[in-house]
């Protein structure tokens, strides 16, 4: 017969508290998460499945059923043969246009915005606050107001309907939000580091390239993700500031999907849409971790 002291030391609670796996809390939590995930993934599933079916199979109407006979024909057609207007060389033309638009736009806008943000955060020049206020104000002006003036501006510069014109537009519209992003990030870098670099004899560019930039890779990743997805997915500027042979992929996709002549080739449309979405998707997967880290770093001390 154990005495009361032994009872206390051996039979009492000890170690981690046991938790029920099928508790009400867990069922509600995971149930909601699974439901929401399915809700968002079903359209994607339908698109993928449909893009792998032939037209006869689609006409049967079972949009949720997997393809009986997998075919990549619609993907090939979407990429190389789909017609928009007189051109029948598929989305590939739009893809390369988008590449030619996105890469320089992302590069130029990030270079300028990061230098802006650095100057605003660390070199408090006269009028810096006014400049910053005007720039941020720019982020709140609706695009519609600026569209026509910019058409005139580009026309006078001789860039209207050309790719460099569109690159300029993307750079301008990316500026407020990107500058804000970089400025806020650079202000979180301790001021003493900047002071130390000045005592060590580094100048404006020396501090930027050798001290600030190497410390800011996460925020550069964030900026790249924001800009690549934003510019790649842009439709409005592409349709306004370019002409058909320079149309980006999104505009071309719209023209393929919305063409009224002939039969609606759902499988080709689905394949074309997926092709257009591949680039932003790939960017997210590659830089997802950096992206979250960068956003969080900017958020803690804004």
């Amino acid at each position: 017969m154990p005495n009361s002291l032994d009872m206390k030391t051996t039979d009492g609670p000890r170690g981690p508290k046991p938790r029920k796996i099928l508790s009400r809390r867990n069922i509600i939590l995971y149930g909601t998460l699974i439901f929401v995930a399915i809700y968002y993934l079903v359209p994607l599933y339908v698109m993928i499945v449909t893009s792998l079916k032939g037209m006869p199979e689609i006409r049967l109407g079972n949009i949720f059923s997997p393809p009986i006979e997998v075919t990549f024909e619609p993907w090939v057609k979407a990429w190389a043969q789909a017609c928009t207007g007189l051109n029948c060389d598929g989305l590939s033309r739009g893809f390369w246009n988008s590449v030619k638009i996105t890469i320089p736009s992302v590069f130029v806008s990030i270079v300028i915005a990061s230098i802006n943000g650095y100057a605003l955060a660390n070199w408090r020049f006269k009028g810096a606050n006014l400049f910053f206020t005007i720039l941020i104000f720019g982020a709140f002006i609706p695009y519609q107001i600026m569209i026509y003036p910019l058409v005139i501006l580009l026309r006078d510069l001789g860039l209207y309907t050309k790719l460099p014109g569109l690159i300029l537009i993307h750079t301008i519209f990316g500026m407020p939000i990107l500058t804000l992003l970089f400025r806020n990030y650079f202000t979180t870098i301790p001021e003493e580091l900047f002071k130390a670099a000045r005592v060590d004899g580094a100048g404006f560019w020396g501090i930027y390239f050798r001290v600030m930039m190497p410390m800011s890779l996460p925020i550069f990743a964030v900026a790249i993700v924001l800009q690549v997805t934003g510019i790649w997915n842009d439709f409005l500027f592409g349709v306004i500031y370019t002409k058909p042979e320079n149309y980006p992929m999104t505009v071309q996709l719209n023209n393929i999907v919305n063409s009224v002549q002939g039969v609606k080739e759902y499988n080709v449309n689905m394949a074309a849409t997926l092709l257009t979405g591949l680039v932003p998707l790939a960017i997210y997967f590659i830089s997802g971790k950096l992206f979250v880290r960068g956003i969080a770093a900017g958020a803690v001390k804004g």
Binding site: P190, K195, A196, V199, D200, G201, R210
Partner: protein
Amino acid sequence: MNSIEIKNLSLNFGDVKVLKDLNLTIEKGEFLVLLGASGCGKSTLLNCIAGLLDVTDGQIFINEQNVTWLEPAQRGIGMVFQSYALYPQMTVEGNLSFSLKNAKLAKDEINRRVKNASEILQIEDLLKRKPAALSGGQRQRVAIGRALVRDVDVFLFDEPLSNLDAKLRTELRVEIKRLHHKLNNTMIYVTHDQIEAMTLANRIAIMRDGLILQLDDPKNIYNFPINKYVAEFIGSPGMNFLQGHINNKDNVSFQIDDTIFELNGYNFQTVVEDKRPVWLGVRPENIVVNDGNKSLPVNFDVVVEVIEPMGADTLVWSHFNGHEFRFTVDGNKVINIGEKINLGFDPLHISIFDFESEDRL
């Protein structure tokens, strides 16, 4: 020869006057500590000397050269910051050589200086590491090394030990003192820690509201504080203050309520008229517990309220005529709460301040 001369320096941030017409001369090889509570302008003054802040008015001379408009790197200074401010993406070696590369020095000269500095600070084994892989003390050593490689005459320290734990702080404090003996260059050291100030300085400048209140060697600041603020700031535990007035009829004495302390031996700066209201300040460590022979000129009784043993000595809290009164006794002495105890002090070791202006009398 003067190492640093500051003439009529003023600095305003908008309407706020941070430094007010400040003058300061520092000799070559001197260790000067700027001491004050936060917001007194001590770090601002250091930043002005470093050239990290533009001054509103006045001039700064370093080695007889007017550097008021020069860039920090051109002033011949090295600076150590509270947060270490090491470049996180560079190795220790990269951190040490950054300024030398910016100055476009030859490669073997850079290597020689980095080697020399890392030997002095005993960080040779850490050269290939990144700052993230260093402890706090090691980081601060690297930060000092970064100032050392520049081979400059003036070192500026901005609260360099405040981020370290107590034990490391004591260790590095001694090391900084050794470094000063070895290099014998001018050092200006900003701190709010009066122990650091007392132990390191040749001279201490106590600052308040953008002004230097007292500039003197540590002993004089401790023994003859120029006003009540300085007296309160220096010394731990803090000075005791009794509020009363001076009697100056036959001989000078201090009266608090009905108690009268004879002040024979106290050196008054001026003639003090009868009935002048004053503060009498006496440090806890200058109070002597009377062990029977009432030889001290001043003595009185208090009741023990709280005891704080600190090892070497014990701090005792009590009240005297409504004023809180602390004194230290030998750590081995047995003292009980509620005990009545006879205390005394020598008027030589007290300070008397005017009640209104709080200046030393």
